[in-house]
């Protein structure tokens, strides 16, 4: 891999030279930025490779944000222009991309790519250049243990906190109604496993017994044996730390065994549009945490759903919403700082985001010192063939059904 390293070094050297030149220029009083220049936002996204599908979703979210901002007259009176590179889902490429965007392309702002695997290396580059780095994906714990001071995750909560509202709800139930035993099955993946284990830690601390704790590799396609274990344990509640297909497969396998828990919660899968059809519409009572709902009553959300639908012909999903949220956070920081360029302005924006609350399509967001958001996900439940928000009380559309009806 020497060529990649060399390229990176070249890019760094080139970037440094550019920065110095720029510094010299502005020192000379001959400021390059004029008031009507567009604000360029540099982004590297996995448009091909492993993460291409969510990558494209994130791209649409960013494009929707740029269009909505520009239709409104731009940021600080300047139009927003996106510069998007394809990192092919590769961590090497993502580093080179951000070096290029910041160093040679001289973008004014950068925002994050998709997935933890790419967010961490990209965040490191942004951090070296002192750039504000808001990112739409990268919920795993390792993102927040790197010592980044410039990174912010633009979503309500990290994986471990997704189920917080549900944990509070369960532990508040009278002792004789509470589920007494829980079976957990989680994919061997930091995000999916994080959601299930976050809930597990809270329920175990509350005295609720774990009877099955299964971890399966991401390539698992046959869930018969895992389902057999869960069904044989007769657990009152089942929790799946799932992505999409594994969640579907596990639920179908459980239904094949006629397992009927009092409560069933799965991450990600139940919020996908094809979910109900995929499991033959036997969705009754399934719970799922969600970072985003098209029906959430936050003020900017209505505008987003309307305009997004007009632009792309369908309603936005979570990936799009997270990218849009990222845009909203950057927008708020730029407006507050009154500037959008490399240099001191970035630190001004970083300090502002650390100290303030931002209203977004996923609700009001605040962050701790590591950039970890301080909220929890909403909990949705399938009721009568529709998925509805049931927790927290402030945003709920229906009351949580417990014990769940048979599926």
């Amino acid at each position: 891999m020497p060529s990649i390293f060399r390229r990176t070094h070249w890019a760094t050297a080139l970037g440094a030279t550019f920065l110095l030149t720029l510094g010299a220029c502005s020192g000379g009083g001959d400021g390059g930025e004029s008031a009507d220049d567009p604000i360029t936002v540099g982004i590297s996204l996995p448009l091909t490779g492993d993460f291409s599908e969510p990558g494209k979703g994130v791209q649409q979210g960013y494009e929707a944000w740029a269009k909505i901002v520009n239709d409104r007259g731009g940021l600080l009176g300047r139009q927003v222009e996106l510069k998007i590179l394809d990192d092919q889902s590769s961590a090497d490429r993502v580093v080179a991309d951000y070096e290029q965007l910041i160093g040679s392309d001289q973008v004014d702002l950068v925002v994050g790519p998709f997935s933890t695997r790419l967010v961490v290396p990209a965040g490191r580059v942004a951090s070296e250049y002192g750039m504000l780095f808001v990112e739409p994906a990268g919920a795993a714990n390792e993102v927040f243990t790197q010592g980044f001071k410039n990174l912010f995750y633009a979503a309500p909560a990290v994986a471990q906190d997704h189920y917080n509202h549900l944990a509070t709800y369960i532990l508040a139930l009278p002792a004789d109604q509470r589920p007494k035993t829980v079976a957990y099955a989680a994919m061997d993946d930091p995000f999916a496993q994080g959601t299930a284990y976050g809930l597990k830690a809270k329920l175990e601390a509350g005295g609720i017994k774990t009877v099955v704790d299964e971890v399966y590799p991401p390539n698992t396609t046959d869930f018969g044996s895992i389902a057999a274990k869960i069904a044989a344990s007769k657990a009152d509640m089942v929790v799946g730390g799932s992505q999409y297909q594994d969640g579907v497969n596990l639920i179908v396998a459980l239904q094949q065994l006629r397992y009927q828990p009092k409560m069933a919660a799965f991450s990600t899968a139940p919020t996908e549009p094809e979910f109900a059809k995929a499991i033959g519409n036997k969705t009754e009572g399934i719970l799922s945490p969600t970072g985003y709902s098209q029906d959430a009553p936050y003020p900017s959300n209505k505008e987003f759903v309307e305009k997004y639908t007009a632009q792309f012909g369908k309603a936005p999903e979570e990936d799009q919403a997270n990218a849009y949220t990222t845009g909203q956070v950057v927008e708020a920081a730029v407006t507050a700082a009154g500037c959008a360029e490399q240099g001191e302005c970035q630190q001004k924006m970083i300090d502002w985001v650390h100290a303030n609350k931002v209203e977004t399509v996923v609700g009001p967001l605040t962050w701790d010192a590591t950039g970890k958001p301080q909220g929890a996900h909403m909990i949705q439940q399938w009721i009568g063939g529709e998925i509805k928000i049931v927790l927290p009380d402030a945003t709920k559309e229906a009351a949580l059904l417990y014990p769940k009806p048979a599926w």
């Binding site: 492993d50 291409s52 599908e53 061997d188 299964e214 971890v215 399966y216 590799p217 390539n219 698992t220 396609t221 046959d222 018969g224 044996s225 895992i226 057999a228 274990k229 069904a231 044989a232 999409y244 297909q245 594994d246 579907v248 497969n249 179908v252 396998a253 239904q255 094949q256 065994l257 006629r258 059809k277 995929a278 499991i279 033959g280 036997k282």
Partner: protein, 295 residues
């Protein structure tokens, strides 16, 4: 100690899984028996058949089982062509090794084309009876798994009858046992080998359809299958169809039962442990004699 109910359920799941392994391994061992070819692309064809079944269901709205009417003859033809046009041109001295390279390339091509045509998204056939099941002594048998097992049994049974009761089967077995002698008694071994190859690939068509009924498919899934299948045919004794079937049932059952104490990740290792044990203690396999005496 797992409860009796879980044990029975796991045994049932293991047998159902073993049936599918048996069918797939039968095809794989057939290629080796006929012409000492290691067919890495076997599981790629399996996934291809699964995709065709999925496509039939998703786009044409027909039951995936009906896709067999098209895929079985299609794969048979493809197998014959593959053997006659490509594999028979490899030099006999390096046949086994070169066949690995050649079929590896074919597997990559199929995987790439599947990804190009259907994207890398995981797919699953959505059947009305997908979660239907019936009880048996307290355990439950899923209808789709039983159909898959039934397909495997019927296909293996037909293969057995074909090999034992028809003159084509005799000619095929003669070709496997001693090609030179077979030629001396007037068998066109080249043609028979082609048909044998087609037969092997036809098992992949049936297996793929069976597989698609109850699992998720994605283009690179075949790498997940080829390892266990290779292990099965080595344990069963290369070239022996009954040996492959017996090893498949045993290892499928072993995998299913080991999942109870070890979990999904480690239970997969049963295939490789069995492979190492076979190579170390009984390289000719546990269920067959010398290759020439098979069947």
């Amino acid at each position: 100690m797992p409860s009796g109910g879980l044990l029975l359920q796991s045994i049932i799941l293991g047998l159902l899984l073993g049936g599918l392994y048996a069918l797939l391994a039968a095809g794989l061992t057939l290629y080796f028996g006929i012409m000492r070819v290691v067919m890495i692309a076997h599981s790629a064809f399996l996934i291809l058949a699964a995709y065709l079944a999925w496509w039939c269901n998703e786009r044409l709205g027909v039951d995936p089982l009906l896709s067999l009417l098209v895929t079985v003859p299609l794969f048979f033809g493809a197998g014959v062509l593959l053997q006659r046009m490509l594999l028979s041109r490899l030099r006999a001295a390096t046949l086994t090794m070169m066949s690995v390279l050649l079929t590896f390339a074919i597997a990559l091509i199929i995987e790439g084309l599947l990804g190009y045509a259907f994207s890398g998204t995981q797919r699953r056939i959505q059947l009305g009876y997908g979660s239907a099941s019936f009880g048996l002594f307290g355990a439950r048998i899923a209808v789709v798994k039983l159909i898959a097992f039934g397909l495997a049994v019927v296909a293996l049974g037909s293969l057995y009858l074909l090999m034992k009761r028809t003159s084509f089967g005799w000619a095929l077995r003669a070709t496997i046992q001693h090609p030179d002698a077979a030629r001396l008694v007037g068998i066109d071994t080249e043609r028979i080998a082609g048909f044998g190859f087609g037969l092997g690939l036809a098992t992949a068509a049936v297996g793929g359809t069976a597989l698609s009924l109850d699992t998720t498919i994605y283009p690179s899934l075949h790498w997940h299958w080829i390892g266990p299948l290779m292990a099965i045919i080595v344990v069963g004794g290369l070239g022996s169809v009954p040996g492959a079937a017996a090893a498949a049932m045993l290892l499928g059952l072993g995998q299913s039962l080991l999942q109870i104490p070890m979990g999904t990740t480690w239970a997969q290792t049963v295939f490789y442990v069995a492979l190492f044990a076979t190579l170390a203690f009984r390289p000719q396999g546990f269920f067959g004699g010398r290759l020439a005496q098979r069947f």
